[in-house]
Amino acid sequence: MLSTLKRRVGEVLLPGDEFSYDGDDTISLTEPVRPEKVLCGPGLRRSGDRLLVCKSGVLRHKQPNVFWMDCQQKRYVHAKGETVIGIVTVKSGDVFKVDFGGSEQASLSYLAFEGATKRNRPNVQVGDLVFAQFIVANKDMEPELACIGSSGRANGMGVFGGGGLLFRVSLGLVRRLLSPHSEVRSDLEQLFPCELVIGMNGRLWVRSSSVHQTLVIANLLQSCESMTPLQRRELFTRVQQGAL
């Protein structure tokens, strides 16, 4: 199964495609026999000794044995540990309700901010943007957010300051921006100095020195979705030369 999976990395697969386990014919006598374990990411399901594809997209692989489907969907489905940009919608007692663009609203405790105590409540109003991390994300339970890491530090999370622009892009583009050696991000870095917050739920927040530049960056990022790397680089160089 592992070899068939590896051979098809980078191919477009559809729901209903499956990989079945076929035992190796040859047994190595020198190396110890180790059962191959495949880790399934989003879009792949294990059923018995078969692996089923349940989303359309491109099959991706990470060493050693992690596989997932890269799918360009627009609706966010929450997962534990992911950081998102949310909007506070309700303030009730000791929890805030946060809209993150998923199927239900997440709860955010007022104690889940850096330096917050029962006496010292964080200053959060309805309509504020928060950058937070999922600590509970389960299909059967209410999702729960926190603005602190496990060490009690904010690590860049918390309530947003004034200014800046919030806009939406596809989840696929967000993942491309967040990948360790993102070409889009390195291209963007050469344009203007700016602050960019990327939420895994497809929301981006940008702030730079002027409104004009902020809008240019927002438009560039939104148009990145439907461009090949070549077209993108061409557009970025044109902007750099002052076409806008």
């Binding site: 980078g10 477009v12 559809l14 729901p15 209903g16 879009g43 399901r45 089923l52 349940c54 989303k55 359309s56 997209g57 491109v58 890269d70 799918c71 360009q72 969907q73 627009k74 609706r75 489905v77 998923g102 199927s103 239900e104 609203q105 299909k139 059967d140 696929g172 491309r176 439907s226 461009m227 090949t228």
Partner: protein
């Protein structure tokens, strides 16, 4: 049976079909599907928040709405909605998104025969575009039996009117099983079997087309 299939293989004729995915900005998934002159737009919203009255504790609620070209949806649309909904429920893995709602809206742009199969194909493409977990794909094929007993696949409105019987099948992509049937008119058991065999042959073309159009969609991110 084998003979029948061999005979069918040469006679599968479908009108030209075309599809575009992700062409609407607001819905989470969208697709347009065209069979000859029949054309349908589909939009999917979800998984989203669900009304308490429609909440199901262990799976998502799927709602299908069909908007006709003119006027308000009537009994005919309701029965089509039910056919589409039950087919979608069979292929979607709804238990992965409990207590949420999925809404599929189908807008008929023009009906020139084989409308139900076009609706099914548009529904499948839009669900796939929305990235909803599915166990398999499905497609719709319409067959008409004319006065001489000839089977016509993907009939036009004029051919439908002259036909003795009209059948629509939803077929899954894994084993080419029949998921849903909707029939009109009179026909023998043998004719039904023949039509199923023809539709299964035709479905292979459609699934190949699905694969090509999704591949084209992802060509820029490969």
């Amino acid at each position: 049976m084998a003979v029948m299939e061999a005979r069918c293989s040469s006679s599968v004729m479908l009108r030209e079909f075309a599809c575009e995915q992700n062409f609407l900005s607001q819905p989470d998934g969208s697709a347009s599907f065209v069979h000859g002159d029949t054309s349908v737009y589909a939009g999917v919203y979800g998984p989203a928040e669900v009304k308490v009255s429609k909440e199901i504790y262990d799976r998502a609620t799927l709602e299908v709405l069909i908007q006709p070209k003119v006027g308000l949806p009537g009994v005919r649309e309701r029965s089509q909605e039910q056919c589409v909904r039950e087919t979608c429920e069979a292929s979607l893995l709804l238990s992965l998104h409990p207590r949420s709602s999925l809404t599929l809206i189908l807008q008929v742009l023009h009906d020139d025969g084989s409308l139900l199969s076009c609706l099914l194909n548009a529904a499948c493409m839009s669900l796939m575009d929305a990235g909803l977990p599915m166990s398999c794909l499905f497609c719709g094929v319409t067959c008409a039996i004319d006065a001489d007993g000839q089977i016509i696949t993907d009939p036009t409105a004029a051919q439908e009117k002259e036909s003795r019987a009209l059948m629509t099948f939803a077929i899954d992509s894994k084993k080419h099983n029949v998921l849903m049937t909707s029939t009109k008119g009179s026909f023998s058991v043998n004719e039904l079997q023949q039509c199923i065999a023809v539709s299964q042959k035709a479905s292979e073309k459609l699934f190949q087309f699905y694969r090509d159009s999704v591949r084209r969609r992802y060509s820029k991110t490969l």
